[in-house]
Symmetry: C2
Subunit: 114 residues, 2 copies
């Protein structure tokens, strides 16, 4: 894995390690929301919400745009796909190894019962 890819993966998993940041993502999968709607949903201050959104945007989990005085946030699928792809790759590599191990065990000469 290249260094900048590893750093992007670090950022995504770090962002997801916080329950409030995961709650933002869970909320945004159901549709876009303003920063104040997200603050109300989390029950935390606007400042804390903005801080969480910064981490989520840096890790490409959330994107936002400002129209007039309202900033609207929505899911950025890049970060979710990056993290899911890494996990999927690890799980399938591990399962394929178990399958090969099972095949080797199946091919062993059977011990005769006595």
């Amino acid at each position: 894995m290249l260094n900048h890819e590893a750093e992007a993966t670090d950022r995504v998993f770090h962002a997801l390690a916080d329950p409030n940041r995961r709650a933002v993502i869970e909320r945004l999968t159901r549709g876009p929301a303003s920063v104040s709607e997200l603050a109300a949903h989390l029950g935390v201050t606007l400042a804390a919400t903005v801080q969480h959104l910064r981490v989520l945007q840096d890790s490409e989990l959330v994107q936002s745009e400002k129209a007039g005085r309202v900033r609207t946030c929505r899911i950025d699928p890049s970060g979710l796909r990056n993290a899911e792809a890494w996990l999927h790759h690890q799980r399938t590599t591990w399962e394929h190894r178990l399958d090969r191990l099972g095949a080797v065990l199946d091919d062993r000469p059977k011990e005769s019962g006595s």
Copy 2:
């Protein structure tokens, strides 16, 4: 999500946010390894490796057992499945919302060309 589930999810994502801990998982998906093999693979001290393994075991990503003087580590699939399930759920919720949005747009009366 219940509190203890959220805490387990926090721990898994926190564990995965470190490149050395991800390197341990990538190594173990190809087969079990001793602590000293993992330290050599990472190029870090035994003490640092033990510290990383503690975080990985607390988050149910790795399990280990000691036979004589050798501790052998292997993948614990629970943590990987937990994290992958959370990400999969978010991505599919988001995609289904996009699909429904697409269906609504397709059903709109077409503007007549002129």
